[in-house]
Chain length 338, copies 2
DNA sequence: TTGAAAGCGCTAACAT
DNA sequence: ATGTTAGCGCTTTCAA
């Protein structure tokens, strides 16, 4: 097996260090020898050994992705894979490869300690769901390049990136108003459901900045499932005046909402506009199909990759960002205007 | 930076090679020194450098996963992530870490050539959707450890593993019979849809082995979407005698099927049993919920990991396996019996 | 602008 | 059972 850098040096009539410099784009090499060496590399079809490069450099050019990969997470979190794809693309563009490692919250600390001491990665991407205070402390203390996907649910100095759910709410409100709906309602998850909460906040802001108001009695909270979506919707339908548009915090709730409206004999989007967040395959399974404020979650992965690559170069910068890339996908459920 | 094997050797009063042997579980070390060295390693909190180990061994202890990771593949293929999770778990258990690389069919060959020449992985997991003839040839010719996820759609000598869709069909048929349905129909995708075809085959076998028959006029093929599912179902409902159970090749078709049956004023599961394959989140979104023959796709990932690890140890064995792990999930759509 | 040579930290063949 | 030592293939400092 294998050509080495020596073979190239010999064939090109130079030293190995010259070849190395050519490979790494060192400035001190004359254009002439650069071309010659490149030519030889091409002819010999030489590829430097990744292992030897890593070893000599003391780095791995690898980023490790840490998340909970227990059975069924994929179904519950179809976004994770998209994030991963975006991340991989962004990292590869910058010369890093991506490794994957499943772990739960408890084990995560040990895993990270292991990575640090064995130097088996140059950076870490950590899903917020497995971030604990000790882990955050470890990350901060070690100054190891990292980025957390999602807003940590406690104060910390870690680098993180998250979707701007508030802004998504603003977009939702704007669309509802633009379609001429007058009395907007919001049904969402419980207090601890931060995503729902932020979306609610955004809707409120969006309405208020247009001089409208999200009436308190039009806000309902419950579990995130279809049954609850139906239940909350029925509450709304019983009110006078009845709202004429319902913004649902997520798809599950929205599906229940649609059912309840149809069972009440009302027509979407004429009697009631319905809007939700995130474009899932089943957003298009209702009649009419659901208007959604979608999130370019792949973009978030790409941004995470970019930020992490920067962080590897400049380990002492802190990054805490909301990415603001929601996109409105208008479908039948809010198309009141022609 | 950091502790090296020399520090450990010095502290333990042995040579570096002894320490190395302890680390790698070499047989020739006495229990006594083993304990002493282990103790020192513990005390010093020493962790061998992955880079140095890889370099010295000439291997990476890494497996690369190759698949198409373009936008939206996650939605279209929710299974991929589950496979990945299973794979990671199985590989980790065997000392390998998993890397991820997105590529299309065309670029895949170059990527693999690069991996081979740079020795950047010890093995490859390749999704069948990006496998081309040249790539298969390269894999075979190079004897590089690999496993393809999914049955290649051409003859080849590569190692592969796939779901046993035929067997899933058999399970489906058995359940339908067991529930007392008399005239089974099958609606599925076009000829080129191999998954549908295999399931059909299985249903046929299952019925025949019970002395029944899948009548040719009860078999319809169309595109895999809801519209077509409805259309094919309406065809079936118009036939006399009408079938009393419909096996749908996939969820999309099944959803259309349910709609058509309900529009015709018939009752599932009394007048018509409905069964499909794969448990998706939306399998439970119909009323009644769909009985499905599910596939433990995570298990397939785990098996792939195991097979690949074996293949890395024994590069000259060929593996071409159907994993037979379908599981019947009985829900309302076929529960005719009490 | 180029080259010589000293590592990088570990493994494994060989010697004891 | 343990130790000695020659690599592994590259990067990088320093001298020329």
């Amino acid at each position: 097996m294998g050509l080495t850098i020596k073979d190239v040096a010999r064939a090109a009539g130079t030293s190995v260090s010259t070849v190395s410099k050519v490979i790494n784009g060192h400035y001190s090499i004359s254009e002439e020898t650069r071309q010659r060496v490149l030519q030889v590399i091409e002819e010999l079809d030489y590829h430097p050994s990744v292992n030897a490069q890593n070893f000599a450099r003391g780095s791995t050019r690898t980023v490790l992705f840490l998340a909970d990969l227990s059975p069924n997470t994929a179904f519950e979190n179809p976004h994770m894979f998209e994030i991963l794809s975006g991340l991989e693309a962004a990292l590869r563009k910058r010369g890093y490869s991506l490794s994957l490692r499943g772990t739960d919250t408890t084990a995560a600390c040990e895993v990270v300690e292991d990575v640090l001491s064995r130097r088996s990665a140059d950076g870490l991407v950590i899903h917020a769901s497995i971030l604990s205070r000790p882990l955050a402390a470890l990350l901060t203390r070690s100054h190891f390049p990292h980025i957390v996907l999602g807003l940590p649910n406690f104060e910390s100095q870690v680098n993180w990136i998250d979707i701007n759910n508030v802004y998504s709410g603003v977009i939702a409100a704007a669309h509802i108003l633009e379609q001429g709906y007058e009395r907007t309602a919001f049904i969402g998850g419980r207090e601890y459901d931060m995503i729902s909460f932020h979306r609610l906040q955004g809707v409120r802001q969006g309405l208020e900045s247009a001089g409208r108001k999200l009436e308190e009695q039009y806000i309902w909270q419950g579990e995130s499932n279809r049954q609850e979506g139906s239940r909350m919707t029925r509450q709304l339908l019983a009110m006078r005046p009845m709202p004429d548009a319902i913004i649902c915090a997520n798809n599950h709730i929205a599906l229940g909402c649609m059912t309840a409206i149809q069972e009440a004999g009302l027509c979407v989007p004429k009697d009631m506009g319905v809007l939700t967040f995130d474009d899932y395959p089943f957003s298009q399974m209702t009649t009419p199909e659901l208007t959604v404020v979608d999130i370019k979650v792949r973009d978030m992965g790409e941004q995470a990759g970019r930020l992490l690559a920067d962080n590897i170069r400049h380990p002492n910068t802190q990054v805490q960002t909301f990415t603001t890339n929601p996109v409105l996908i208008v479908r039948g459920s809010t198309q009141r205007k022609k």
